[in-house]
């Protein structure tokens, strides 16, 4: 019905082979294929120039969850969201990440979709995620074959949204990414991985592979939560996501992080929350103050439609997330050795 363009394919078995293949390829033309649930629709819609795909399905290391130093957990980039959302370690210690994974798309898509693909998901915009015919009829846009933005007509930069579920809770959990290329490995905080350009919202070099996501052990007293808004109960991308991590010690807040996603290209980490919450109990007043701060700092755009409504629901969603936090339990005896 919607055939794919002619493609070339390779399926290396080691990380070294993958990065070598990436380095050989022409940037823009070569592309990693993990679950393919973003890449394949984009190829069908003609919004990507990728023509040589490197499959990650045979790289065993990318499919594993490994225990790391200081009780961190390393999640291979090609671990599926279905496996991630059920993994007992993740469920117990990073409940918000597990919850986000379970909220993605639909059961079938979660079995295909990977964590790496979710982090590298192309940004979304209702003027862009359409067929070539449709985009042609609209006249294209800054992100692809056009020179205007239909969301911010005066803007010079694409403001398509990061609509993946996992980035916000990963940022709130302080997760780090382990990247590899022929130039060697590097690590970057998820918070620093994203860049404010909807046309390309992450800082992965064209020849880089995302190898692992490192989840640091939650501090004692950590509570975490994730909520998102969607039109329907399943399938739909989020229209707004909220992740929160709060460390509570003897009934007072020691640290708080709230991240709001599906606004623009970068998940937004709320500023100035320490002054509102630290040293106080996480009571209704504090939750309301954080929600009010969120309203001031978050400005949904028309990239996903219904901007005014999404603005209005930022505060309730933040408040509800803070009301429904779950304990992120300390590692159990076994993993403490």
């Amino acid at each position: 019905m919607q055939p794919l363009p002619p493609l070339a394919w390779s399926a290396p078995t080691t990380i070294d082979e993958v990065v070598a293949a990436l380095a050989e390829g022409v940037p823009g033309e070569v592309r990693l294929h993990a679950g393919g649930t973003d890449l394949v629709p984009n190829l069908k819609r003609g919004v990507t120039s990728a023509r040589r795909l490197i499959g990650l399905g045979r790289v065993a290391e990318l499919q594993e969850l490994v225990d790391g130093p200081a009780d961190a957990l390393g999640v291979g980039a090609a671990v599926t969201l279905d496996d991630l959302g059920r993994d007992p370690r993740v469920v117990a210690r990073w409940p918000a990440v597990a919850e986000a994974a379970r909220q993605v798309a639909s059961p079938q898509l979660r079995r295909m979709a990977t964590l790496g693909g979710n982090l590298c998901l192309d940004t979304r915009c209702r003027f862009y995620d359409q067929s070539a015919f449709w985009r042609g009829a609209l006249g294209g846009c800054l992100k692809a074959d056009g020179d205007a933005c239909h969301v911010v007509p005066t803007g010079r930069k694409c403001v398509a949204a990061c609509c993946a579920d996992t980035p916000a809770p990963l940022i709130a959990a302080g997760a780090e990414l382990e990247l590899a290329s022929v130039r060697g490995p590097r690590r970057v905080h998820v918070a620093d991985f994203f860049a404010g350009d909807g046309a390309r919202n992450h800082t992965l070099a064209p020849d880089e592979l995302l190898v692992r996501v490192w989840l640091p052990a939650p501090a004692p007293g950590t509570r975490a939560g994730y909520q998102r808004l969607r039109r329907r109960g399943a399938i739909d991308f989020p229209l707004l996501t909220v992740a929160a991590t709060v460390v509570v010690e003897r009934d007072v807040v020691r640290a708080v992080t709230v991240v709001v996603g599906a606004l623009g290209a970068v998940p937004r980490r709320l500023r100035g929350l320490d002054a509102l919450a630290v040293g106080r109990p996480l009571d209704a007043a504090v939750r309301a103050a954080i929600a009010a701060a969120a309203t001031r700092q978050c400005h949904p755009l028309d990239n996903l439609g219904d901007a005014a409504w999404r603005q209005a629901v930022v505060a309730p969603l933040v408040r509800r997330t803070l009301e429904a936090l779950e304990p992120a339990t300390a590692p159990d005896a076994a993993s403490l050795r």
Binding site: M1, Q2, R126, W134, L138, G233, W309, V313
Partner: protein
Amino acid sequence: MTIGDRTPNPRAYDAVTGRTRFADDLTFPGMLHARLVRSPHAHARVVAIDAAAALALPGVHAVITAADLPTPFGVIPWTQDEHALAAKARFVGDPVACVAAVDEQTAIRAAALVDVTWEVLPHVLEPAAALAPEAPRVNELAKHGNVTKSVQLAFGDLDAALAGSDAVVAASYDFAGSTHAALEPHCAIGQWDPAGGLTVVSTTQVPHYLHRELARVLELAEDRVRVIQPPLGGGFGGKSEPFGHELCVGKLAMMTGRPVKLRLTREEVFYTHRGRHPMHLDVRLGATRDGRLTGCDLRVLIDGGAYASFGLVTTYYAGQLVTAPLRLSAFRLDTTRAYTNKPPCGPKRGHGSVQPRFAFEVTVDRLAEALDLDPIELRRRNCLEAGERTINEFLVRSTGFRDCLDRVERASDWKRKHRQLPFGRGVGVAGSFYISGTNYPIYPNEMPQSAVQLKVDRSGKVTVFSGACEMGQGVEAMLTAIVCEELGVAPGAVRVVTGDTDLTPVDLGGYSSRTTMMAGNACLRAARDLAARVAEVAGADWRTRPPVEAFRVAEARLGALGAVGSYDTPKDVHGAYRGGTIGASPAYSFTAHVAEVTVDVETGQVRVDRLWVAHDCGRALRPQIVEGQIEGSAYMGLGEALFEEQAFHPSGLHRGPSLLDYGLPTTLDTPDIVAMIVEGGDPEGPYGAKEAGEGPLHPSIPAIANAIHDAVGIRLDALPFSPARVLAALTPRPTGRS
């Protein structure tokens, strides 16, 4: 299998094993694939088409344009305002050329190489603007400017009725357009045989009308055209008229001598559309203090899109079909359908009447509030009785509406819930009626609306030949049950052949909920005729023995065994005024819904917790299938109420032509639907049966709207009830019950 039992649908075995062969599952040796070239402009004249580059691509066999198919067509003979390929595009997505190539990939590439020179014209998207004198002319084949049809009718003295009312509610409503979104996209395959003529296999609900239009447009004698309709993956009205792509595969097959398949992408299905018309409705409804409805004044402006489709009928239905189940003493309607530069609207499940039903039932709820009456009680006080005529003179021979109200009231525990649930939760009620087929065919003729042939032989097998359209609604099960009931055979001994104009007698098609009434009656007559002849020679007690024994005796004594039956409608069931036949039906079904909802007052999200639906289908020949129709209808209404909308950019471009953007409800959005069957029997229906496939959709939308009002005190007069719209209506929060 007997009438009313729960023997499974014989078709289900094919469905669960994957053996059902839908149109796109068929391939033929040497088959080419076709693709349409569509307009990126909402309104533009084709100045020139240069197909040279496309034709030069290896594997391309033909490119056709408007000039190749110059005869206009359309399902209604009086409004044939469409061409298979347009010389002037009238909406974004209007096809202007068609390419046939060795495979789909090549066809797609070739279509992109077809170079169209456009003269872009000003476009108009809103019906009110389209009716302004300076508006661009959308369709030159329209008889009056941008008007498809305008209807003004009056019954009784409306002004006096309203003046004599103790309460009159006036309200305006905006019903958003929605589309069928059958899960199977349209697909057609043309085959040309110089000896036998043209065969078109297509996902059509109306093989007979397609047959006629293929013959006319392709200039073939009707006996040289065969239409085959494989089982449909859903229709809901979206496949119920001839389409340009069906004419294109016919033409291309004739030109190339090869089978040609054209399947629409999901995106193209949204452009092909023919779905629910957007309507702006103004209603005034009066009642006396004791809860007797008086007069109703209904004005409707209908957004038709670029072509007429069934619009002539829509324009009548939009007014004529609110006059039951509640009695009115005066009624005035003024409905107009305007052309706009958008994908054409047409019949979607509950054609033309779902929109005014929404407006009417919400207005009744307002009236109940104004009179401080329970809305179920208000409806009860106004029920039409069997044998009565509606104010616009439709004869209602049977009605189980009162029972429907009782059933939903009891099942939902209405009396303990209405106006009593905590803030944020509420219940709402609505009722409706619908036709069991149209009294008259689309084109005037004196022939029966449906005919059935039965063939029986010494094997004991009974074959039913019917032109009725199977699309999952259970035609084959219904016909099988009738044959089993009348001839005493087992369901396994019955073979139903449908959807092939060469093999089956004419049936007008799967639309307007006509099949059980018409094909059912035709089959019943054939079966009874056959049974009578068997009885004559095999003895009146032939049923006490295995039927095959009697068939052998009969075949020996009478020769080849067969029977025919046909059905046409009674002609004394409607008024004699102009238009009085449109909306007239041999029988009407009745439905009542209660919806229970929870409204999230902070986000505006509405959750439907449960739907109780009672439907009077006269007699349920296949109760399980009737329940399925009730559940599916209620589901489809819920989708329109909460999620779905055919929305357009100012440029005329569809806002999101995908199942992702459009948003059909998933399992998680759909509550358990409690389907209750009311069986009062109708004198005209086979065994008393009436329709069940469309009626039960109508009340779901107003019932949900009324439940939202009960929950949070807001009236939503525009669809869909999206969170944004609900939240906007909630701010500032009304001071109501808390």
